[in-house]
């Protein structure tokens, strides 16, 4: 059930497309669609993962953002060098709130920015010497680092530096893995290629380094893949798995370490949360080591229960029993939360525009609170993401791929959702339009939202955003309707 019918939604898309010149209109039309649950393949209704139209304000990132910011960055005991000009690293430093445990600057380096700070002469004469010097300095200054990665920024690819050879030499000198990552920002159409490149470098430079070494394995070893511990998400997920009797060997990559990654081939099951950014390495491990992987969803009790039971299905009866015990233990807590917040949030409409997995994963959590998702879209999703989303979303809801500022604004004006969930670039536009907003990338400085504990915080945050008294103050006093204006003198008296 959505407020707009299929025809109205189609008319809305046509109306939004009207402002574009003909060629642009034709291109953008392929990226906007009305959901039809009967379709098996998303490519019949939407095109995804295509180059953004020049001239429109996209919110996509670059390959460097996908590699350094998402996949490699959270690995806490490695030093990730932003190789190139200083800005890319500095402006993205610690912005993703990947929490970790450790002493920053001594044995962990998550929130620090390491950069080769390219100058004009490095562009002209090449930056390889600078990189070699920098890697030696890292070894002197931070001897407890377990390794490094060299995250290329655009100029490295343009001037043709050979970071691989520098990395190999430095690695031989220090005895630590140094991973050159060719994630120059100009590669690909969005951060999605950066995820792929980062996964491939992990495959080539990290995986298999401990093959054949002794490892005290148990039959219940699992790895959490694609959980970046934003606001503590991975911890909230991990405790549920541990309560079920599973042993979490590795966290990829939130609060993760290099050793954990190297030990991952020893696990029995890979649990994949962010499909978009880490399906590559899961597929590789399935082929090379025969480790099955499954996608799970820890947003909202309905999906958590579903996922926990599916995870338990891979193991013996003792795990299945404990799984049911975990579900039973948290059920009263969930009932209390839903009992408290559902009456306040029932029937509210939400529009989502996020990154890789959340537009589809989070729908269940909203539905548990009685809210309805009336529009969803991915910044950089591929068609396999949309394939997975179509069934999750209601019929005739709006889907948008790589939407730009103008389109989102028009959609919100017409659909009039009670709330928008997106990122920092959209936040202030919609708040100024008087619409409650939550950042669904970084959880708006809150979190975790995964797991049972996370759902409690999620429900509270949605209620805070929607019920804030500020939204009733949006009409200035001189524009208020007449009856209220006549009351004012009485109040003054």
């Amino acid at each position: 059930m959505s407020t707009l019918s299929r025809e109205e939604t189609e008319a809305l898309i046509a109306e939004v497309l009207e402002v574009y010149p003909e060629k642009a209109r034709k291109d953008r039309a392929k990226h906007l669609a009305v959901n039809d649950q009967s379709i098996e393949q998303s490519k019949k209704c939407i095109t995804a993962n295509r180059k953004t139209l020049p001239g429109v304000m996209t919110v996509r990132g670059c390959a460097y953002a996908g590699s350094k910011g998402v996949v490699w960055g959270p690995i806490k005991d490695m030093i990730h060098v932003s190789h190139g000009p200083i800005g890319c690293g500095q402006y993205s430093r610690a912005g993703r709130r990947n929490y970790y445990v450790g002493t920053t600057g001594v044995d962990t380096f998550g929130t620090m920015n390491f950069t080769s700070d390219f100058q004009e002469k490095d562009i002209v004469f090449g930056g390889d010497k600078k990189l070699a010097k920098l890697l030696a300095e890292i070894e002197t200054l931070f001897p407890l680092s377990k390794g490094s990665s060299v995250q290329s920024e655009c100029p490295i690819g343009l001037i043709g530096d050979d970071i691989e050879s520098v990395a190999k030499k430095a690695s031989a000198a220090t005895g630590k893995p140094i991973v050159p990552v060719r994630c120059e920002g100009f590669r690909g159409v969005s951060q999605s290629l950066g995820h792929h490149i980062a996964n491939d470098t992990i495959r080539d430079w990290v995986m298999g380094k401990r093959d054949g070494q002794p490892f005290a394995a148990t039959p219940y070893d699992v790895a959490i893949i694609g959980d970046y511990n934003i606001g503590g998400d991975a911890w909230a997920s991990r405790i549920l798995l541990e309560e079920m009797g599973l042993r979490v060997v590795a966290q990829w990559s939130g609060d993760g370490t290099l050793a954990e990654m190297m030990n991952t081939p020893k696990v029995k099951l890979n649990l994949l949360h962010c499909y978009r950014s880490m399906n590559y390495i899961s597929r590789h491990m399935e082929e090379k080591y025969g480790i099955p992987w499954m996608e799970y969803n820890f947003f909202g009790p309905t999906k958590i229960i579903e996922s926990l039971r599916r995870i338990a299905g891979f193991f013996d009866d003792s795990i299945k029993e404990k799984c049911e015990a975990v579900i039973a233990r948290y059920q009263p807590m969930m009932d209390a939360i839903i009992g408290k917040y559902r009456p306040r949030l029932q029937g509210k409409k939400v529009m989502l525009y996020v990154g890789g997995l959340r537009p589809r994963h989070i729908i269940g959590a909203y539905e548990d609170l009685g809210m309805e998702v009336v529009g969803a879209g991915y910044e950089f999703g591929h068609n396999d993401d949309y394939d997975r989303s179509i069934k999750e979303m209601g019929n005739a809801t709006l889907i948008y791929d790589d939407a730009n500022g103008f389109e989102l604004e028009q959609f919100v004006k017409r659909i009039k959702p009670d709330m928008v969930g997106s990122g920092i670039k959209e936040k202030y536009i919609f708040q100024k339009m008087g619409i409650p907003f939550r950042q669904m990338h970084s959880w708006d400085y809150s979190g975790p939202y995964h797991g049972y504990d996370g759902f409690a915080i999620f429900a509270r945050d949605m209620d805070i955003a929607l019920s804030s008294p500020v939204w009733s103050k949006f009409v200035p006093p001189w524009k208020k309707s007449v009856p209220e204006a006549t009351q004012e003198p009485q109040e003054a008296a």
Partner: protein, 75 residues
């Protein structure tokens, strides 16, 4: 020629995956499907068709192979 990966789907069928383009599609038909000879032309549910040289049936999936596209590129 492109590197592809064929894996077993949860539902029982085969899934075709082309890493270069992040293309995932289920395989509707496979030309040869016996223990001694496995492969040949793969018809995908998205309308595409690929050809892999017939090999002995792999003991374990997923498997990475080289494939040739038949016909025009699909989306």
């Amino acid at each position: 020629m492109a590197n592809i990966m064929i894996r077993q789907a949860d539902s029982g069928g085969l899934v075709f995956y082309l890493p270069k383009r992040d293309l995932e599609a289920s395989i509707e038909s496979i030309e040869f499907d016996s223990t001694a000879k496995w492969g040949g032309e793969l018809k995908l549910d998205n309308g595409g068709a690929y050809y892999i040289d017939p090999i002995a049936k792999p003991p374990r999936l997923p498997i990475s192979l080289r494939a040739r596209r038949l016909g025009a590129a699909e989306d």
